[in-house]
Structures are given as structure tokens and as C-alpha cells.
Symmetry: C2
Subunit: 457 residues, 2 copies
């Protein structure tokens, strides 16, 4: 174990082990059973989390990076050999792992695409073992970023044009989650993040104000405010609620229009923002912005907007980065088609309430004459197109077919896709159910596959 | 940006930027204001999440690793200089960052300690800037692992001695969160994880069964089962619900006692486990264990145990790694004392519902004659002891005072601490409120500090 390991950081050297054990035991079983013909797996979300009516897809860039860099180092192979479960496994498997590279195909919805339940967000087609081994990592990557991008879209919608900034790193599920959340929140509509590494690695605009500790570290609040303004003459946002918000607002007002902003972090934000606005305006500080924070979510923000609270920007933390009301996205990754003796055979899972549709699929979006979404059709790949196809080739034989869109492009795509979605599907409460139908051919294939299974047993 | 950056991995080179921007702007402000006398910050949880009556502390090892390795690389400093907010900041600050090392003191509760609302879980004493800069990372590290260790303890308690395994990587908030969850779940009472990297880096026992795709990849379920058993003659757990659970159980029974286990993943687990148990027993497979999985949590597991479902082990995923019913822990990190001109001055935050207690603290646990916990006292450091002190020195001047306990020791500590906690404080529903009181001296200091603040303004 190297020194860095105590931090529990992922790296290109250990990322292949960031997976469920059964992916690797199944791989060993397939090697032994000499089953490695091509197979297609699709990643989709069976049903959306409560209140969600759409998803904003995110995380593809990290998924692609993983597929490009996954390999089993000597150290990893040695570790696996040491596990009791692999004791009876022959050398052939470990040789296979040593040479393992992902050389399959990836088709996916671009990041920022708006998607719905049942729709494949991505498909991997590769020799069975390759396609299987990458399951866990693809799921965790797409599940989390899509969860946060979707939550961010809801929050940004509630803010109706006011800025929303991700402030959630300290409550994210570990340091990497904070970074992934910053990225996904930006795709979903936040204008930036407090996470500095998000700025460094992704070019996301970074924002910050000051903490209570700054104010507490000075004997006098006014002195604390002045010292900050001295240090950041053009970028000072003063935190008002360390002791008494309105008293602090008057101290901020005494410093004049150079104060770029003030932050409210507790109390009745609607009432306080009005009173603070008046104090600032009296001091001719019309340009000084009011930022609000403190356990905000889309519902609270919608309430503040409805009450016309004079708040210019919202800092959102816990609720955003944990998607607190629905902290998991149930993406699954299912075998849908497989070559057997050179022929492609559709596959499905039949268990109660968890049935799947067989066959490689394409998702088409139907638009009306004004460009608004009318509904989607999930069809078999190769059927005559129904509309705009949403899945596109991303990798062929392990290589990118072209550069991935930039993060800014993903963000624009999300904004455009959401704008095309009629308002009834975007309501925060009781949104209308977006129509997604299965093509006749896919339904027929499903019936046929079920019949074959019945006969087979 | 190096190629690895697209994976958004943390590393010792970039970890210093995994923080909120305001930590660094405040640092720049303190450098400018020449304020860098020693200060103490304490990390505590104001109120426990719903239904929680205790916390199991976890994450200290990663916090210590961070404090040991944090440094600002040339690349990081260049990036910060490029941000508009730092435009007016003098070179002195960037020089300070280049030389930055954490050389402060850390006192903390050992991992596995059972703790309660208001109690400091750790304290940093260092020059003000050092103590401030590390805030965000310490919070995200302790918040998440403590959240999951606590959830794991609840789930393990519900299982009443049956094994609980972490199966949650695919629903964790990114790949690193899956690894952190595996660690914290183990501290909290899980017997292992499906996360292979958790096995490699932490020595946690790893477990796995098989996925539906294995069964679906064969034309015939029986053939799929036999192929797995051939590959893993002593470690085969068969997944029964790909098509029809009871039919699958009969196929498993046909393979005889070499089948180590079967897994139920959907349907009425109590009823199915009984029928499957009967099928296995008839085939003289009394030693074949039944594992249940599928969106389980502490309440569902308690229900299965109450109904005497013959389930030997539980695989728990989403609910565990996202702590789904309460997916965030609101740990905060507050300035409590600070040197001003060489004298230590207590500090507190006074804002509505978010007041803090000033002064460096110690937490004492009071035990009755049978060794059961009676309650805790939060006192000032240096007061005459009330019982067993829970905070101990971990680092002095940036160096470990001794080796940290092993992960196994942290896990034992949690088990022992929970066993000392009377059952009424451990109920899943409506647990009794554990008595934590503030010493008279700390209350007096609080009153005095508040009076000083009133006078000061």
C-alpha cells in the first residue's frame, strides 16, 4: 500500500478494482466457460425518483475516461489471486486480466440530454467479459452525476433566472463527490461552484463569500467587514448573520457601494432580504447584490421567488449535492442482446416488476412544429427513424469516434433541451407524465423472446 | 490538465484545491490583515438526522492523511493567481501558500467512538490560516463516513447477528464514495463489502454473488448455475430471481450441497425465503445459506427478522451508502477560541438557532457500575475530569503522536461502544434522548462571552 492510499483516492492504477467483486468472478466464470462472444448491455433508469419528471444526463466524460484507462496492474492481479474465491481459478483468467483493455463500442446520449424512465442512456457492445466488467463503474458514474444535474435543473428552474451556485462540497459524500457534484450542477444549470478544484480541472466559474469564522475572528464585526473589503476591493460579499443580520447590514451599508454583495444565511430570508435591500438602497448601494443560503432547495427558492424576495442569487449546498429528497438514482445495466454462435439473440430479465425489454435500442424524440417535445419512442436500433435519435456513437473498438462536447456545450444542451420541454413536464410538484412509448417492433420482439424462454424451459 | 484529470480523481497534488473558495480568500485576507495567531476550531454536529440517536464516528484516518499531505503545487498557485478574485492580492499570500504545510495540533475522538449532538468530534489548533484552510475537506471527510458508519450500525443492529454486507458501490455518489462507504460500513458493523478496492486498500473482506446477466447470458438457467459452480466449487451463491425464484431454487437444489448459498433479490422475501429453505433442506442442503438483497434497510430487515424469515445474510446497497432516509450529516467547524495578543479569547457564533459554545472542550462519558453509558458531559479542556475523556491528541505540530488504530480496532471500538449504550438509546424508532449536559464552567464562559460581545458592540 502506498502512502497515498490512506487518502482513498482513485487513480488510473487502481480504478479497475473500483468495482463489485461479482463482475470479476463472473468474468472468471466466462473465461472458464469459454463464453466471450459480443454482447450489448444498456444502462437505463427503471423509474424516476419521486417528483422527478425528467433526467438531465451527465457523467459521460468520466465514463469514457474510465473505459479508456481501465487496466489491471500486476499489483491488482496479485491481490485478486490472493482472494479465497479465486483459489480454484486457472491462470488463463489472470492472463486475461493482465491483457485487459476496453476495446468495445459505446453509444450514448450526449451529456445535457433530457431523458426519461426506460430510455437507454448508454449502450456498451463488446465481448461479453469486457462489457460485464465495466458495469459497476459506469453505473456509479452516470447515476450520481445524472442525479445531481437533474436536481440542479429543478433548482435553477425554481430560481427563474436568478443565479444558483453550488456550495455543497462540505456535505457531499466525500471529496470526489463534491467535485463530481460541481460538474453535474453546472451541466444542470448552476452558474458556478465554490469548489476550487472544479474551477481548476473543469473551468467552472468559482464563487465564494466569507465564513462566520472570519467575522468571529475579529473583535468587531465592522472591523471584520472592513478588513475583507480592503483585501478584495472588487469581490467582497459580506456575511451578515454572525450576530444580528440587520445590524450587520447597517455596518455593510457604512462601507458603501464598493461592497459587491451581502449574504443572508439564516432566519426569514424573504423578510430579511427586503429589510436589507432597503438599508442598502438608502446607502445608494443599488448594485450590491443579495445572496441567500442556508439549507435551500427548489421548493424554498420557488417560495422566495413567489414572494418577490429581492434576492439576486442563491447558494445551494446539501440539498443539491446529495439530491437530498431523492439521494439515489436507480440506474441499472442490463444484457439486452448477445451473440450465440455468431447470431445475435435478444435477452431479457423476467423477474417480477423488474422486466426488461430485449434488443439494442434507439430513442427518438418527437417535436411539434414549434420545436417543443411531444413525446419519445423507444425503438429497435435499425428501425425506420421516428424523429431525432438521441443515442449516438461515442466509441468504436475502444477509441473515441470524435472529441466529446465540452462542459459548456453539455450545459447549453441541457438548457436548450429543457426549454423545449413543455412547462407541464417541468413543474416542481405533480409534473405531467411525459409520453414515452415502445415501438411495435420492440413490443413484438419482447413477446417473441418471452415465448422462446417459456419453450426453452 | 493531465490525462488523468478527466476521471476527476483526487490526488496528493490537487487535494489542496478540493475546498471551498472562501477558505482561500479568507486566508488571503488574514495574510493581508496580519492575523495568524493560533486558533482552535471544533467540528461537531448540531443536531442528529431524523431517527438517529447516536453517531458512530468515522473518517479520521482520511482526515489525518489530508493534513499530512496538503500542499499547494506550483500549478495550484498559478491557477489561484489567475482567478479575478485574487487579482488585487499581493505576492505575500502566494508565497505563503507555496510554503504551506499543516503543522498544527489535532485532537479527536477515535474512529468507532459513539458520539452525540453538540459534542466536538475533533479539534484543530493551529495558526488561524492553517486551521481555516482545512475546514471544507475535514467536514466532507468526517461528515460522510460518520453518516454511513451510523447507518451501518442501525442496519447491523436490525439484523441481530445475521451478517450484513455492503453492496452499494453502484449507487454511491461516485467511485470514491463507494470506497469510503465500504470503509465506514465496516466500521459501523458490516462484515464486508462487494467493493474490491475496499478489499485491496483496506483489507475489508470482499463478497460477491452473481448478476442477472450471468443467468441471462446462458440459454438455460440450470446451465448457468452449473457453469458457475464449476468455476467456483466452494464459493457459489446462485441468484434465483432472474425468471422464477422457486423454479430456480429447485434447479439450485438439483446441484446439491456444494452450492454455498442462494440469493433472493425481489418479491416477498419472508415468504420466498421460507419456501426456498424448505426446497434446500429437502435436498439435504442445510448448510446452503440464504442471502437477501433488494432495496433493504434497517426497517425492512427488522421486519424480516421479526417474522423469523430464514435469511442468513443481507446485502444492503443504496440505503446504506447514501444513508437514504437521511443522506447528509450537518457537521460544522466553528472557531471556539483564539489567541489575541498572546491571550486565548473564547469565541462563539450567536445567530438564531445556530449558537455555539465557546472554548476548547473535552467530552466525558459517565458509566454506571455495569459499564453502561449514563450520559456525557461536555466540559472545558482542563476542567477536573467527569469520566472517561473521549477526545485524545492525534497530531502535535503536524506530526502523529502515535500510530492510528487499525480499521479492525475502529470496528471493535464501535461494537463495544454500542454494546455499552442501553437499548432504549439504540431503538430504530423513537429512541430515547441520550443525556448530554454542559458543565457549569462552560455555561458560565458562554454567558460571559455573550456579555462581552454585547458590551463590545
Amino acid at each position: 500500500m502506498s502512502r497515498g492510499d490512506a487518502g482513498l483516492f482513485l487513480s488510473e492504477d487502481n480504478v479497475a478494482l473500483a468495482t463489485d467483486l461479482y463482475e470479476l468472478t463472473m468474468a472468471a466464470g466466462y473465461v472458464r466457460a469459454r463464453r466471450n462472444e459480443p454482447a450489448s448491455f444498456e444502462l437505463f433508469v427503471r423509474s424516476l425518483p419521486p417528483l422527478r419528471s425528467y433526467l438531465v444526463v451527465a457523467g459521460l466524460e468520466q465514463a469514457v475516461h474510465y473505459l479508456q484507462c481501465i487496466r489491471f496492474t500486476d499489483d491488482s492481479v496479485r491481490f485478486l489471486r490472493s482472494l479465497p474465491v479465486f483459489r480454484d481459478v486457472s491462470d488463463g483468467f489472470f492472463e486475461y486480466l493482465r491483457k485487459f483493455r476496453f476495446r468495445g463500442d459505446l453509444d450514448a446520449m450526449a451529456e445535457g440530454t433530457v431523458a426519461f424512465a426506460g430510455e437507454p442512456l448508454l449502450r456498451v457492445t463488446a465481448p461479453l467479459i469486457e462489457a460485464q466488467i465495466v458495469e459497476t463503474y459506469l453505473l456509479t458514474t452516470i447515476n450520481y452525476q445524472t442525479l445531481v444535474a437533474t436536481k440542479a435543473a429543478r433548482i435553477a428552474a425554481a430560481a427563474r433566472g436568478r443565479a444558483v451556485v453550488d456550495f455543497g462540497s462540505r456535505r457531499a459524500h466525500g471529496p470526489q463527490a463534491g467535485l463530481l457534484a460541481a460538474r453535474a450542477a453546472y451541466v444542470g444549470g448552476c452558474i458556478g461552484t465554490s469548489n476550487v478544484l472544479g474551477g481548476r480541472l473543469l473551468g467552472i466559474p468559482v464563487f465564494g463569500t466569507q465564513a462566520h469564522s472570519w467575522v468571529m475572528a475579529f473583535d468587531d464585526e465592522q472591523e471584520a467587514f472592513r478588513a475583507y473589503l480592503d483585501a478584495f476591493p472588487e469581490h467582497t460579499t459580506l456575511l451578515l448573520d454572525s450576530y444580528d443580520t440587520l445590524a450587520a447590514a447597517r455596518k455593510a451599508a457604512a462601507l458603501g457601494p464598493r461592497v459587491a454583495g451581502v449574504r443572508l444565511d439564516s432566519g426569514d430570508l424573504a423578510a430579511l432580504s427586503r429589510r436589507v435591500r432597503r438599508i442598502l438602497d438608502k446607502a445608494r448601494m443599488q448594485k450590491t447584490r443579495i445572496l441567500a443560503s442556508g439549507d435551500l432547495n427548489e421548493h424554498l427558492i420557488a417560495g422566495l421567488v413567489r414572494r418577490r424576495a429581492p434576492i439576486d442569487a442563491f447558494g445551494v449546498g446539501t440539498e443539491l449535492v446529495t439530491s437530498k429528497d431523492a439521494p439515489a438514482l436507480g440506474g441499472v445495466y442490463k444484457l439486452v442482446e448477445q451473440q450465440v454462435g455468431g447470431d445475435w439473440v435478444p435477452r431479457l430479465k423476467q423477474s417480477e416488476e423488474k422486466e426488461t425489454y430485449p434488443g439494442r435500442k434507439q430513442v427518438y424524440r418527437l417535436l411539434d412544429e414549434r420545436g417543443h417535445c411531444r413525446g419519445d419512442v423507444i425503438a429497435l436500433e435499425g428501425e425506420a427513424p421516428y424523429g431525432e435519435p438521441l443515442l449516438a456513437p461515442v466509441m468504436r473498438r475502444g477509441r473515441l469516434v470524435g472529441p466529446l462536447p465540452s462542459l459548456a456545450q453539455a450545459r447549453s444542451r441541457a438548457a436548450e433541451a429543457l426549454a423545449r420541454l413543455p412547462g407541464r413536464f417541468r413543474r416542481l410538484h405533480a409534473p405531467a407524465h411525459y409520453p414515452v412509448r415502445w415501438s411495435r417492433r420492440i413490443q413484438a420482439l419482447r413477446e417473441e423472446t418471452l415465448r422462446t424462454l417459456e419453450t426453452g424451459r
